[in-house]
């Protein structure tokens, strides 16, 4: 999974930096060198990265919830094991990403608190509910498919720890995407009820998946800066187009219909024309008004609160052990 670019309405703040250091930094980035944790970096670069990486990590963790909702109801043993492993992978991705973000000087607890207070965001897509088993197929196929579009270029992002985390994550995401599509293939050739389930899931997940690429380019003022810093390597609209072009034939191949009556192959552009995303809905979901946004944050808050005594016990126990060791020496 991945994070949605939700920075469209905010301008990066300007901090005075040493011009020589800044020039040297910009030159390294332009030269496609990796920036490492101990290297000098502009404050705005650090902030942008912490925001993007923590959003990405939060998306992995919150993203465990909609799919986790179906582990206990997976239709057979094989599907149960695959789904469990997949959701566990998302947790693992969250862990690498938090660790990578911590190299920028923000602790995991601080990031978690920002998520729970609503200060930090996560991908809008996870604020939609998983209603049937077909949603598990649709999420793998569309949501992980969209994630891959965004993440493959991030393997060459300028911040070394982020880029390296993305290499591992991308390998697993392509497996996730295939397993999702495979679920949809089975449903599409199954009973009429199964086919209906598959089409209904595509109808509900298509537009939110297109929103995952973030606001249109003309409304994404930070894109230029992020691209210059190689934090981002393609614009939102470029990635969205690429996703549509790859996904539409996949839907056709299994006899499902993409819910967009403006969708049409444009011979001249060599790409699909498609309808307008409901940006008002997107803005509302970014504001935290998605259909199950409250449930998602409530679940994270509950896990955090219910787990507090466990984390405290582990900390106190480790301290006792350390003290006993010192006393013994």
């Amino acid at each position: 999974m991945y994070t949605t670019d939700m920075s469209g309405n905010k301008k990066a703040e300007v901090v005075a930096e040493d011009p020589e250091e800044l020039a040297a930094f910009e030159a390294r980035v332009a030269n496609d060198e990796f920036i490492e944790p101990k290297d000098w970096m502009p404050e705005a670069y650090r902030k942008t990265l912490v925001r993007q990486m923590s959003q990405h990590a939060h998306s992995e963790i919150v993203g465990m919830l909609p799919e986790g909702n179906w582990i206990s109801r997976a239709p057979n043993l094989r599907r149960k094991a695959i789904l469990l492993a997949k959701v566990q992978d998302e947790g693992g991705h969250g862990l690498y990403l938090y660790a990578a973000a911590e190299t920028l000087g923000t602790s995991r607890d601080e990031m978690t608190e920002a998520l729970l207070s609503g200060k930090a965001k996560y991908s809008t897509i996870f604020n939609y509910p998983t209603l049937t088993w077909a949603d598990i197929g649709a999420i793998g196929w569309l949501v992980d498919g969209a994630a891959i579009m965004n993440q493959v270029p991030l393997q060459r992002t300028s911040y070394g720890p982020y880029a390296r985390a993305m290499v591992r994550i991308c390998k697993e995401e392509s497996f996730h995407q295939r397993q999702g599509y495979e679920i949809m293939m089975h449903l599409a050739v199954g009973t009429p009820e199964q086919k209906r389930m598959a089409q209904d899931a595509l109808n509900r997940w298509w537009w939110p998946s297109l929103m995952m690429f973030g606001p249109p380019d003309e409304k994404s003022p930070n894109t230029a800066q992020s691209m210059r810093w190689r934090i981002k390597r393609d614009t939102n609209d470029e990635l969205r187009q690429k996703f549509v072009d790859i996904t539409v034939p996949q839907a056709e191949a299994i006899g499902l219909t993409v819910p967009d009556d403006k969708l049409k192959w444009n011979e001249e552009r060599g790409a699909y024309d498609f309808g307008e995303v409901d940006w008002e809905e997107f803005a509302a979901v970014v504001r935290g008004e998605g259909p199950v946004a409250k449930e998602r944050l409530q679940a994270r808050q509950k896990a955090w609160d219910d787990g507090a005594w466990v984390r405290e016990a582990a900390r106190v126990h480790a301290e006792k052990r350390a003290n006993a060791k010192v006393a013994a020496e």
Partner: protein, 249 residues
């Protein structure tokens, strides 16, 4: 079902129901690392269940596979021990359940890996490595929680008190066990009790926890007499197979 098939079924049901319970934690655990380790254990259990239930279906010879057994039986035909169907409760209760069960499974599979019947031995040999890790992980948490804060200790005591009455059933022997031993597939579970007691006691001591007071054993799982919890677990787990009979997924 013949007794050897029943024997495989019991092993499969134990793993299946515990895997199902543990997977309820996924996305909700006290810390991300804990989430990942509980999911690991759940995955191992679902894997073991798949092997043992497929074997049970094969031994039964009526065309049922692991999925048919997992998703198309009602409470009275499930043969798991009562311990594994117990609700997760808080994290301490989950750990208490895992602690008792994983030490039992570790001893069981160590022995089963050497039985004559290679079908059982092969599954057990692979599973033995997995459950040895589960036992270590659960023990580490018993120690952390027992010898952590006052609150964690009180919760660990309560968790152990909840599950303790189900421990005896793990080692109970009946005709199916005897037949499985006779056929070179089974293990004398009653002989594992001593080693289990000493492993469990050693961990409790390190955790500064007292062994729970003796309690009359609550049993019946092996013959389909379960707690009220199992029916709810099954109704959730079996929902799709029941709602769409004959569909494949």
């Amino acid at each position: 079902m013949d007794v050897i098939a029943t024997y495989a079924l019991r092993l499969g049901d134990d793993s299946l129901i515990l895997g199902q319970r543990l997977s309820e934690w996924c996305g909700h655990a006290p810390a991300l690392e804990v989430d990942l380790s509980l999911a690991n254990i759940a995955l191992d259990q679902v894997g073991q269940a798949t092997h043992f239930l497929n074997l049970a279906g094969e031994l039964e010879g009526k065309g049922r596979d692991g999925d048919a057994l997992a998703f198309r039986r009602d409470v009275m035909d499930f043969t798991n021990c009562l311990l594994v169907e117990q609700p997760n409760g808080d994290f301490a209760q989950t750990i208490a359940r895992q602690f008792l069960f994983s030490h039992y499974q570790a001893l069981l599979f160590e022995q089963m890996a050497a039985v004559k019947d290679t079908r059982f031995a092969a599954i057990a040999a692979k599973a033995a490595k997995e459950v040895a890790y589960h036992a270590t992980l659960a023990s580490d948490w018993v120690i952390r929680l027992g010898d952590g804060t006052d609150e964690s200790k009180a919760r660990m005591v309560a968790g152990l008190a909840w599950v303790w009455r189900f421990a005896d059933e793990l080692f109970a022997m009946d005709a199916a066990d005897a037949a499985a031993i006779e056929a070179g597939a089974g293990v004398d579970k009653s002989a594992l009790r001593g080693a289990w007691d000493s492993r469990v006691d050693a961990v409790l001591a390190e955790a500064t926890l007292a062994r729970p007071a003796p309690h009359r054993a609550t049993t019946g799982g092996r013959i389909g007499r379960h707690s009220e919890h199992l029916g709810h677990l099954l109704s959730e787990m079996q929902f799709l197979q029941r709602a769409y009979p004959g569909a494949t997924w």
